[in-house]
């Protein structure tokens, strides 16, 4: 009897291993109105992080966007993106602007003729500013091929300047307005951008997006959802 049980288990193990290999990809197929398959985060380039004006000593501008990746360097979906920004201002400088963004691009999802899109995003981190730097945090839901870029969440500079704002496991359910389109499959992007702007006054100023442990401002996309209207 034991031999039969062992044999059956061995067969089941092989079946599972075969099933696993076969479905590793197939399970990632998207369903209309449902969560899309895992796709990579990308991290925005830093070409906008250039101090402006005549400030010779503006060495203090740091910027970084990072995405969690596996050992082969493939960015992981539903994992943390890191928007890590510090902007600095030299004495008497004329200012600078620095931003970093984590961008999530879905595999093509079906979009009907009238639709709106929801993204559920988690934020973990805080923004602190000093010395007159302005900062803002914005989240965009975009369908580039349809020319749509909705800014669905925005914390403006006035709210962030001169103080602190903290998001601790903050879950945001963000909806775009209604749109019309030719039905079809489209890539959807969620762009989470932190930005600091130095305005050139004061001896030292900084805007920092970071968490309480000082290892980054973490963002995560939990869900994208297309709803026909």
């Amino acid at each position: 009897m034991n031999v039969i049980v062992e044999l059956r288990r061995e067969i089941n193990k092989r079946r599972w291993a075969r099933w696993r290999a076969r479905h590793a990809k197939a399970r990632e197929k998207p369903y209309f109105y449902c969560t899309p398959p895992p796709s990579p985060w990308t991290c925005a380039p830093d070409h906008d992080c250039i101090p402006e004006g005549l400030c010779i000593l503006c060495a203090n501008t740091l910027h970084e966007a990072a995405c969690e990746s596996d050992q082969k360097g493939t960015f992981l979906a539903y994992s943390w993106g890191n928007v890590d920004i510090t902007t600095g201002l030299c004495p008497g400088g004329t200012g600078g602007n620095c931003w970093a963004a984590a961008i999530y691009t879905s595999d093509p999802m079906y979009i009907p003729s009238n639709f709106k899109i929801k993204a559920k995003v988690e934020l973990n981190g805080r923004c602190s500013t000093s010395g007159g730097v302005k900062a803002d945090l914005a989240i965009f839901i975009e369908v580039e091929s349809l020319g749509i870029s909705d800014k669905v969440y925005y914390v403006n500079a006035a709210e962030l300047s001169g103080g602190k704002k903290e998001w601790h496991q903050e879950y945001l359910n963000l909806w775009t307005p209604e749109h019309t389109a030719t039905p079809g499959n489209y890539e959807i992007k969620v762009r989470i951008r932190g930005q600091g702007t130095c305005c050139g006054e004061g001896t030292y100023a900084a805007a920092e997006f970071n968490n309480r442990y000082g290892d980054g401002f973490y963002v995560k996309l939990w869900d994208i959802y297309v709803q026909g209207v």
């Binding site: 288990r9 089941n12 193990k13 599972w16 369903y31 969560t35 992981l76 496991q169």
Partner: protein
């Protein structure tokens, strides 16, 4: 996606005697994990190096809301991870609703329609679980449904999906009922997969370790009220005992296992 887990079975007490309960193997019927030990375990867990970035502490039981100092327990867990996650039968949710916060994660177990749920869990338990969902929805606290699929409730899948939508659950956790011996309650593994695929077309579900590979004792452990370390709440192999450091009992990351070697070994394909 995934996280390192510490499943704390803080008490063995429960008001129900569910037919498919997997927690009847505790040594003591009324054991409770002292708060100080909960603190030590959380500290040990969070300072242990695991393969994944994220860490999750999950309260379970028995029925965790029967823990004698439940509010203090929640406050303690919040010190470590900022929120509380637990699995409950829902009976005491209205009583403790003031303790929960918006970002907590409360999973209420519902095993079918009223008749089926009550036949598995006891008369009147369905209405109490539904009341818990209403209460959590009303207070805007993150909640989900845990549905242990077995032969008794296979016909209730649509009902559970409807509940999920009606009460705005964040997801439906379609659990696989995994027996510790041969039993007639279990659905086939492939039936469970089909059911899960069906559910995922309607509501959000979880990708489970049964699909991706068993990580028992690799990404985390479970601790019983009598302070044994299990490699996983489902597999229940004792791999150590408190106060042994967690890092000493963990398996190596490359040991990710075939679930038909562990929790699914009594399942039919």
């Amino acid at each position: 996606m995934g996280e390192n887990f510490l499943a704390l079975h803080v008490t063995s007490k429960c008001q129900l005697r569910c037919k498919h309960c997997y927690c009847r193997s505790y040594t003591h019927a009324n054991a409770e994990m002292p708060l100080e030990i909960v603190r030590n375990l959380c500290e040990d867990f969070l300072s242990t190096e695991f393969p994944l970035r994220e860490y999750g502490i999950i309260l379970s039981g028995g029925e965790p809301l029967l823990y004698s100092r439940f509010e203090q327990l929640c406050n303690l867990v919040r010190e470590f991870q900022g929120h509380v996650r637990l699995s409950t039968n829902g009976i005491l949710i209205p009583k403790y609703i003031h303790i929960f916060e918006r970002n907590d994660g409360i999973q209420v177990s519902i095993d079918g329609d009223r008749e089926t749920h009550d036949s598995i869990r006891g008369k009147g338990s369905y209405d109490k679980a539904i009341k818990a969902l209403e209460c959590l929805k009303e207070h805007g606290i993150r909640h989900s449904i845990g549905f242990a699929l077995c032969k008794l409730n296979f016909h209730c899948i649509d009902h559970i999906i409807e509940l999920c939508k009606k009460y705005e659950c964040t997801m439906l956790n379609v659990e696989l009922y995994q027996p510790f011996k041969k039993t007639r309650l279990t659905v086939r593994f492939t039936e469970w997969l089909k059911a899960k695929e069906y559910v995922s077309k309607h509501v959000k579900t979880l990708v489970t370790c049964v699909e991706t590979g068993c990580v028992a004792g690799i990404y985390g452990i479970a601790v019983t009220p009598d302070l044994n370390y299990w490699d996983c709440p489902r597999h229940q192999e004792i791999i150590g005992r408190y106060p042994q450091p967690i890092k000493e009992v963990l398996r190596e990351p490359e040991d990710i296992m075939n679930p038909f070697d562990t929790c699914c070994k009594y399942m039919v394909w």
